[in-house]
């Protein structure tokens, strides 16, 4: 007997749910999230980085957490996403996403007997094989049972959108497909149909005004001032400090001994016959920086900007935070820990060098919000500003919301501005996926799917017509 309480899931009838075991795929720059609709957490979260092993016989792609952190000799770490926030390398992205789905959700199908190498010897009759080819291909498609909902960034190009449905229909054989923007889904995850979604991810920060579940395209803003930008700022801090702070990733350290703060590390390092590639090292360094961001970096959440008045002095008075590098080097970070994230809000505060020019002022988050709101009909602005949904992994920076709240209230002092930021880390990071999970499990959503039949009738352009 199930006695309903607060923790039991509501019956499907209560929320108009009707689950059709749809799969929700939420690809991002840092991770790719996949899971069954109706669940509250994506079952499969795998890095969007992949390893490429170039050998004479051709390049081999390695996916998954274990593969890409393995210091192999000539392993290149790559990312299929382009710098503009749109997928660039479609082939690999397809494989990567397929891996994300099949590795945890649908399971790997037994490979085709003609290709698994066991039947090589007996393969004498090529014609017979050709006859079976169609049936074999049909069987291979990984998503034949499940409708697929894919998320896309708000600025996705029409071409990219068509590519999505092509992949889903042609490569994966999904019976039904739908494409929805991350902003809308993040708003859904917070229970809002209208609002401004501020999504600070790894590669991009995006501001998406959403009205009644529809993105206002003119208002969509994006900027590269996001998590990776903060990482670069940290690198600059490390580089510019005297003496320079060494950044040694985990894989290089064999053993370490404790040292005093600021003293040189005393560690023994691993030696590799063929040293890993630069891209691998950089990726591993990113992991250390991520840890640094999580534990040390703080957004200046006081009154005004960090550079304003005596704020910097106040920041200096605040207790520092210690951080220990993988090789044992450690230091207490004082006011420096406020600097890397400051540039998200104040372009003038950005640390610069030859490779990292000062970002444009228009790209800071307050400016983006302002521009986004500017593009919305005047009547809708107060409504949107009272539903500001904050999502994305980088918004987990300490005091990020305080600062954002201050900045927005500074721009719009006369409206009621309300930030909606889910408290739990999972909901903040995977808001778009959760929104997709909600959407795809609704009974009323069934009629919105683009079915395979429709796709065959109208071609990929149907996605423009149906998913708006």
């Amino acid at each position: 007997m199930n006695i309903p309480n607060s923790s039991t899931a509501p019956a499907t009838g209560e929320y108009a749910g009707d689950e059709v075991s749809a799969i929700v795929l939420d690809p991002g720059y840092w991770t790719t999230r996949a899971g069954f609709a109706g669940e509250d957490v994506p079952k499969s979260v795998c890095p969007s980085f992949y390893g490429q092993l170039d050998s004479d016989s051709g390049s081999q792609h390695l996916f998954g957490e274990n593969a890409i952190h393995n210091p192999l000799g000539n392993l290149q770490i790559k990312n299929p996403w382009g710098s503009d926030g749109i997928v660039q390398d479609w082939d690999t992205a397809t494989k990567l996403w397929e891996y994300a789905i099949t590795s945890r959700l649908t399971g790997a199908k037994p490979s085709d007997p003609t290709k698994n190498g066991l039947n090589d010897g007996t393969n004498t009759n090529g014609d017979a094989m050709d006859v079976d080819m169609d049936a074999v291909e049909n069987q291979e498609k990984p998503l034949e049972d499940s409708p697929l909902l894919v998320t896309e960034p708000g600025w996705n190009s029409a071409k990219a959108r068509e590519k999505y449905i092509e992949i889903a229909m042609e490569d994966w054989g999904a019976p039904a497909f739908y494409l929805q923007k991350t902003g809308v889904l993040a708003a859904f995850a917070s229970g809002k149909a209208s609002g401004i979604v501020i999504d600070v991810g790894a590669s991009h920060t995006s501001i998406t005004p959403v009205l009644d579940g529809m993105v206002l395209r003119k208002g969509v803003q994006k900027s590269p001032l996001a998590g990776n930008f903060v990482s670069n700022q940290i690198r600059l801090i490390f580089k510019q400090s005297q003496p320079e702070i060494p950044l040694t990733p985990h894989y290089m350290v064999k053993s370490k001994t404790p040292v005093d703060a600021g003293a040189a590390a005393q560690a023994t390092y691993k030696t590799f016959a063929t040293p890993p590639t630069d891209s691998f090292r950089r990726h591993e360094e990113e992991r250390v920086l991520t840890e640094f961001k999580e534990s040390v970096i703080e957004v200046w959440g006081g009154n005004g900007r960090l550079s304003n008045g005596a704020n910097e002095d106040i920041a200096k008075q605040m207790p520092g935070r210690p951080f220990e590098m993988p090789d044992g080097w450690n230091q207490v970070f004082g006011v420096e820990r406020f600097r890397p994230a400051e540039a998200l809000f104040d372009a003038n505060a950005a640390l610069t060098d030859a490779d990292n020019p000062k970002p444009k002022d228009d790209l800071t988050i307050p400016r983006l919000v302002q521009q986004a709101v500017q593009q919305v009909d005047a009547d809708q602005r107060p409504l949107l500003l009272s539903n500001i949904v904050v999502t994305g992994g980088s918004t987990l920076l300490y005091k990020f919301n305080d600062r954002l709240n201050y900045e927005i209230n500074n721009i719009y002092p006369s409206t009621r501005n309300k930030l909606v930021a889910p408290g739990s880390v999972v909901e903040r990071k995977y808001a778009a996926w959760i929104g997709g999970s909600i959407l795809a499990s609704l009974g009323s959503f069934h009629q919105l799917w683009i079915s395979k039949k429709e796709y065959e009738e109208h071609g990929p352009s149907i996605v423009e017509k149906r998913c708006r």
Binding site: M1, A16, D18, E19, V20, S21, N138, E144, D145, P147, P175, A176, L211, D212, M214, L216, R217, K218, G219, Q375, V376, D377, A378, D379, Q380, R381, P382, N410, Y412, P413, S414, T415, G443, S444, H446, Q447, W449, S451, K452, K453, E454, E457, R468
Partner: protein
């Protein structure tokens, strides 16, 4: 019983056995009925400790409720991934959701399962799921034909193509104008190409609109509303529209894009105010609120003051009842009132006035009440208060007009002014007996005793009171008259003594007589004609009166026996004399009745009065008994 026995006899049942059975049954019943009722939820041992009488509070243990045992309804229900068709879709997409295994007798074969080829599932049965069809709603849009467009809807600003596009976008986004405007992206050439028309016609049609215009929301709305209004008018003539339709039509036809644009500019300006402006406005708003609040308070205070000046507060009225003395202020007022009353009562009794001390408020008292703080309003408040009293009484009880007879019957009386507090009728009567001086009081008491009026009148109704008051008035006058007569007699005696001393000088006597007459006439000139006779009577009367008690004389019993009409006449004259001296209001008729009747008529009159009072007394008692 007999019939039962007969039946048994007829059926051939054993008589004794049946009777025995019945006995045992009855015994059983008695046992179960008469036995101690077993208490529930208490152990038998504990129940035994209670003895004969169980405690008044029932001690019941909550009966243990175990969760209902899981019904074992056979093997576990099977769930299957049930393919289903959504009615809202036209393409026959078959999706699968989990359902309890359905065992249809004949599986319905639906041909359209092209979307799902895999057949390792339950089988060909496809559910028809219509749960969510209700959410498949489409918007209503006005439609128009080419002729209508050409005839009515043409516009210089808008091409037909763009108009069509506008309608399409509005339908797609269900009138969400913000979204419509956001997505509005009309490309004439593009549109044309997709519609596969000839190049020439494209060029021709799109020539005036070659650069796609940037349309604002207001432009879009204006065009759409304009077309809607025109179509509405075409479909339903204005005259035939009902109220709703006409209001819609008015809204549609009166849309003014310029006004709307201005409004939005203002709204934007309002939103984009700087922090300082907002703060200033906030400050001003708080200031305004403060001023408003102060004004409200002032108004309330004024209102209260006005209410105090205008209408009497019910608290200050003594007659309003106990519930009015709820606040300490009211109690204080009451105390001061009682204090004043006490003082005035003392003063009245000390002065010994003939008027009984009433429990009433004089103006001094009223001046002490909180309602009349302002001296100028005393009299007004006073008057109003007295006027308000019957009103408030009427407000308390439903008004019912009574005929005079009924008023008498129910002893209802109306007063211009009520005395304060409650008084007993007997008190009132008692007070009437008391005069200013003790001697006078004793005289009144003697006179009343002589009249056989009891000390305690049993049922002192208001009418009895009135009669008694009249009687007391007469008694008072009688006493006055007697006083005068005594004085006169005294003078006469002195004069007679002087006459005797002089000897039988008739002249002197005459002189004296004339002197006396003069003095008498000085008192009452009307009696001058009666003086010759009066002298004789007075002569005779004097010893009489001397012999009689000086206090109580001239009553019904004595007057006829002493002398005839002469003395009576004299007395009458004296009486009139006194009357004229004291107050001229009393008519002579009442004087005669008060001057305890010597003539049978007067006596009869007096008797009738007493009878009347007795009658009223009787009726009062009757009423009281009732």
């Amino acid at each position: 019983m007999a019939s039962g026995r007969d039946v048994r006899d007829m059926l051939g049942l054993p008589m004794g056995a049946g009777a025995g059975e019945q006995h045992t049954k009855a015994a059983k019943k008695a046992k179960t009925g008469g036995g101690v009722k077993r208490m529930q939820g208490v152990a038998r041992e504990v129940a035994a400790l209670y003895g004969e009488r169980p405690p008044p509070v029932a001690v019941y243990e909550e009966e243990k409720t175990y969760r209902a045992k899981r019904q074992n309804t056979g093997p576990a229900k099977k769930w299957v991934q049930q393919p289903f068709l959504n009615q809202a879709r036209s393409d026959g997409l078959v999706l699968k959701h989990w359902r309890r295994k359905h065992t249809p007798a004949p599986p319905v074969q639906d041909g359209e399962d092209t979307a799902m080829e895999d057949t390792d599932n339950t089988g060909p049965y496809i559910e028809n799921c219509a749960d969510f069809v209700k959410y498949n709603i489409s918007v209503d849009l006005p439609t128009f034909s080419d002729e209508e467009y050409d005839a009515h809807l043409r516009s210089d600003e808008w091409s037909r193509e763009e108009t069509d596009y506008l309608f399409e976008v509005v339908r797609d986004y269900s009138y969400r104008w913000a979204v419509v405007w956001d997505r509005y992206d009309f490309q004439p050439a593009n549109n044309m190409q997709s519609s596969q028309e000839g190049e020439d016609s494209i060029a021709l049609a799109s020539l005036p609109f070659a650069p796609p215009k940037q349309r604002s929301v207001e432009d879009l709305k204006a065009r759409f509303y304009d077309i809607s209004a025109k179509l509405m008018k075409l479909r339903i003539p204005e005259m035939q529209m009902d109220a709703d339709q006409y209001s819609t039509y008015e809204i549609l036809s009166k849309f003014d894009p310029v006004l709307e644009r201005n409004r939005k500019t203002l709204a934007t300006a309002l939103m984009n105010r700087s922090m300082d402006e907002v703060k200033e406005e906030e400050f001003l708003l708080t200031e305004l609120q403060r001023i408003n609040m102060a004004a409200n308070r002032l108004d309330a205070e004024r209102e209260e003051l006005r209410a105090r000046l205008d209408a009497p507060q019910p608290n200050t009225q003594i007659a309003a009842g106990l519930q009015s003395f709820t606040s300490s202020q009211a109690l204080g007022a009451l105390f001061s009132q009682l204090f004043q009353q006490d003082r005035s009562k003392k003063r009245a009794s000390g002065a010994g006035g003939s008027n009984p001390a009433r429990l009433s408020l004089n103006t001094n008292d009223l001046a002490q009440t909180p309602s009349s703080n302002v001296p100028g309003s005393i009299s007004a408040a006073n008057r109003r208060q007295s006027m308000a009293l019957p009103q408030s009484a009427a407000a308390q009880t439903p008004v019912r007009t009574l005929t005079p007879q009924q008023e008498v019957r129910f002893n209802v009386s109306t007063h211009d002014r009520l005395t304060s507090g409650v008084t007993f009728g007997s008190d009132k009567l008692l007070k009437m007996r008391q005069a200013k001086s003790n001697v006078q009081t004793q005289k009144i008491a003697a006179a009343l005793q002589e009249l056989q009026v009891p000390d305690l009148i049993q049922i002192p109704t208001s009418r009895v009171g009135e009669a008694f008051e009249a009687l007391i008035g007469k008694v008072g006058r009688l006493l006055d008259v007697r006083k005068v007569r005594e004085k006169e007699e005294g003078e006469i005696r002195v004069l007679e003594a002087m006459k005797e001393a002089k000897g039988g000088n008739s002249n002197n006597d005459d002189n004296d007589n004339a002197e006396q007459k003069r003095s008498a006439s000085a008192a009452a000139p009307d009696t001058a004609s009666a003086t010759p006779a009066a002298t004789g009577t007075t002569k005779r009367e004097i010893p009489d009166s001397n012999a009689g008690s000086p206090i109580a004389s001239g009553t019904t019993s004595r007057d006829p026996e002493t002398n005839g009409g002469d003395g009576d006449e004299d007395g009458d004259g004296d009486d009139e004399d006194a009357e004229g001296d004291e107050e001229s209001r009393q008519p002579s008729e009442t004087v005669s009745s008060s001057r305890v009747g010597t003539t049978p008529a007067a006596q009869g009159h007096k008797r009738s009065a007493s009878v009347l009072s007795q009658g009223s007394l009787g009726s009062a008692t009757k009423r009281a008994r009732k």
